[in-house]
């Protein structure tokens, strides 16, 4: 039984709500209320952002309630002139969101424990140089620092990692991001055409093309009052689950590579290929670009496509099973995976982590199960959970999720819904003065998109949260106390997005 409160409004996933329906609280009550919600671990912050109105800012808080399956919205209007107490001081999971507000609007917090630049965005007054990031420092001669990046040894995205070590042991890791900042959120406002925006959404994080394109499409459809038909939902779900299978397979390959298990690295690496090649045979692009569009799709799913996927799975499955079983049973792999990069359930809850890192400590966070949308409403998804929170658990869950996605896809393609009529939403009017929110479980975890429209229904603010926004801090905590040589392994067990964070 959910108590009825006047200081919040509850909305469903992919719902649009008029701005004047969202209660405006005085700032102290807003802080108390939102930190209070997070006390028992059944709710977490999905998004928290500021919307400028005149000289003031209206803060919006979106808290996902994992039991009730809805989103708790509240707001408060603040002035940027005088320093404020932070929500982060009461619950750490708000830290990146308040840092974003601090960085963009100059809001000062009196008690924020980690008030550092988040991504050095363009277009702000007195922009600091990324080279001037204020790292955590130490004094004395017992310890040493190791700095890595922004350009890393491998072919990966840029970010700077600063380790403070005692011998081989990592005492502290600070991860400085922002190198990938492209101004994505601003482009969602300045680009007015729907086609531009959907292509932009596919480029938020290329490895999560389907995740972010789905989140944008769901949000946009909700804003203009369009309900996707069964076939469209089918296409998106299939694309999301194929993306999950492909990336998880690649991640297991990379993890095997990091413990010098060459066979696992090569075999799992090659097993990703048939999945992404299949995505190309469906929509022309290995990452799924072009498949997902609001209101329509250029690539309706057919019985012939289902037949070829069935063949690919029949080949993939025994090869994957044989390799994954060998990987997880191998003593040299276990020796490196087990009890490495351990996070406790308390750590996860305190940092608001999502996705496989959360599920690897038994925290049941999975939008497919708690806030289902579209096709996910037609069955009950059971997230794979493990208790131990180490590299092994994060890897093992990926293996289980690959099998789970494969079995879901097999069920799906056994009965393909009839194709829907494509609807062009380009000129459709969006709800005016409203907030719209969509949550999607990407392969990394919870993706949240939120938009606010003006009086004419134009997008006035667009906010994106890749799951990495929560999880980068979790990675930094996971390597504390580990040998520095275990960092690459820990890093790959999270596989977080730089561009999804930096936007």
């Amino acid at each position: 039984m959910i108590e009825k409160r006047k200081d919040i409004v509850r909305i469903k996933n992919c719902e649009t709500v008029k701005l004047n329906r969202i209660p405006v609280l005085d700032y102290d009550s807003f802080v108390d209320l939102n930190s209070f919600f997070l006390k028992d671990g059944t709710k977490h912050v999905s998004h928290f952002f500021a919307f400028p109105s005149g000289k003031k800012l209206r803060l919006f808080s979106l808290i996902a309630d994992d039991i009730a399956g809805d989103i708790i919205c509240s707001s408060s209007i603040i002035s940027t002139e005088k320093p404020l107490p932070s929500v982060t001081a009461l619950h750490h999971s708000f830290h990146p969101f308040e840092r974003d507000i601090h960085e963009k609007f100059g809001v000062q917090y009196t008690d924020h424990p980690w008030l550092k630049p988040l991504r050095f965005p363009a277009g702000i007054k007195d922009k600091k140089k990324i080279a001037d990031y204020p790292f955590y420092l130490f004094e004395g001669e017992d310890l040493h620092e190791v700095g890595v990046g922004p350009i890393h040894a491998g072919v990966i995205e840029p970010g700077h990692f600063r380790f403070i070590c005692n011998g081989e042991k990592v005492l502290h890791l600070e991860i400085q991001l922002g190198y990938q900042h492209r101004g994505v959120e601003e482009l969602f406002v300045t680009k007015k055409r729907l086609l531009e925006r959907i292509i932009l959404s596919e480029s938020i994080a290329g490895d999560t093309t389907n995740g972010h394109a789905t989140a944008f499409s769901l949000l946009y459809e909700s804003l203009c009052g369009f309900k996707a038909g069964e076939h469209l939902s089918f296409v998106r779900t299939l694309a999301l689950e194929l993306e999950r299978m492909a990336i998880h397979t690649g991640d297991l390959s990379a993890l095997a590579g990091d413990v010098a298990y060459q066979l696992g690295n090569a075999v799992l690496g090659r097993l990703r290929t048939p999945i992404i090649n299949y995505t190309q045979s469906w929509g022309g692009n290995r990452l799924g670009r072009g498949l997902i569009r609001p209101g329509r799709t250029n690539f309706p799913y057919t019985a012939e496509l289902a037949e070829s996927l069935d063949k690919i799975f029949n080949e993939y499955e025994p090869h994957f099973a044989e390799m994954a079983d060998a990987l997880f049973a191998r003593p040299s792999v276990q020796a490196r995976f087990e009890k490495t990069g351990v996070l406790s359930k308390e750590d996860i809850l305190s940092m608001g982590a999502v996705g496989t890192p959360a599920r690897s400590t038994g925290v049941k966070r999975d939008i497919r199960s708690t806030h289902p949308h579209g096709y996910y409403l037609s069955f009950k998804h059971e997230p794979v959970l493990l208790p131990q929170g180490d590299v092994y658990a994060r890897a093992y869950i990926r293996g289980r999720e690959i099998r789970q996605s494969m079995s879901l896809i097999r069920k799906m393609i056994a009965s393909i819904p009839a194709a829907d009529k494509n609807v062009d939403l380009s000129d459709k009017k969006c709800a005016a003065e409203s907030l719209s929110v969509s949550l999607v479980e990407g392969w990394r975890g919870e993706i949240c998109h939120a938009a606010i429209t003006d009086k004419s229904g134009n997008i006035a603010l667009y906010k994106i949260k890749d799951p990495s926004m929560h999880n980068w801090f979790a990675l930094a905590m996971a390597v504390r106390g580990e040998e520095i040589s275990d960092f690459p392994l820990c890093n790959k067990s999270f596989n977080l997005s730089y561009c999804g964070h930096d936007l």
Partner: protein, 249 residues
């Protein structure tokens, strides 16, 4: 031991034997074709989400195109995409495909810098720089080296340090926050300091090109040795593009 051998046996040979001759199948979108039929050219140009289409004559700039294929769906009588994936070139203008063009996009061997051939011989080491790339082109760079595409069979490899590299390969639209790192990395690379731009974002800024968060001076100031178009480029486009630049057949 037995288990490992059985896995090796079951996986068989995975490499693509003929990287140079392998074809991709539709709906893969490679080289576009613009037919000489009557159409509303202005409307087609205005339709493109990234301004890659120009009029008089109607043309598509593969350095700006995000290969979404929407124009081919909206104006099928005028534009279609073939699955020809060999579309890299060392001349920026060659990326512009015009109405009625029937020639493939290729590298012009006459304008390859002679020192590239002289210094590199049959080995090429590159330092990849992701400069605000969205991890799609980066992904395909890694895939180019996997057991199937096996780019190293041609002596081409990505290396950890620019000091070990004959040049750099940039992916992403180059953010202001990465601009300095790109310069430093380039300066550290050994001669002939090859510069390759891979992916639409790197070549033109792509969907991000109007963003004030970009800083593309580096790209504007230097001679680019190779453009590899795509969003992201397919591994076969990447490998064939680089092999053509090195003139290795």
């Amino acid at each position: 031991m037995f288990r490992s051998l059985s896995i090796v046996f079951h996986n068989g040979k995975q490499f693509i034997p003929d990287i140079r001759g392998t074809k991709l199948a539709p709906p893969f979108r490679g080289l576009p074709v613009i037919r000489r039929v009557r159409a509303d050219d202005k409307k087609i140009a205005a339709f493109c989400p990234v301004g890659a289409i120009s009029t008089a004559p109607l043309s598509i700039d593969l350095g700006k195109c995000v290969f979404c294929g929407e124009c081919a769906f909206a104006f099928p009588e005028k534009i279609s995409f073939t699955s020809d994936h060999i579309i890299s070139t060392n001349i920026r203008e060659r990326l512009v495909v015009k109405e009625g063009d029937e020639l493939p996009v290729r590298t012009d061997r006459d304008v390859i810098r002679p020192e590239i051939k002289r210094i590199c011989g049959r080995s090429l080491k590159l330092r990849e720089i992701s400069a605000a790339g969205d991890n799609s082109a980066e992904w395909e760079m890694t895939a180019s080296g996997n057991v199937q595409f096996d780019m190293s069979r041609f002596g081409i490899e990505f290396v950890a340090s620019p000091k070990h590299a004959d040049g750099i390969l940039i992916t992403g639209p180059v953010s202001e926050n990465m601009a300095r790192a790109v310069e430093i990395c380039y300066e550290a690379a050994a001669d002939p300091q090859i510069i390759i731009l891979a992916g639409t974002d790197a070549i033109s800024g792509g969907i991000f090109k109007e963003s004030s968060a970009l800083q593309r001076d580096f790209v504007a100031r230097h001679k680019i040795d190779l453009y590899i178009p795509g969003n992201p480029p397919h591994p076969l486009t990447i490998i064939n593009g680089i092999v053509d630049l090195m003139n290795w057949d």
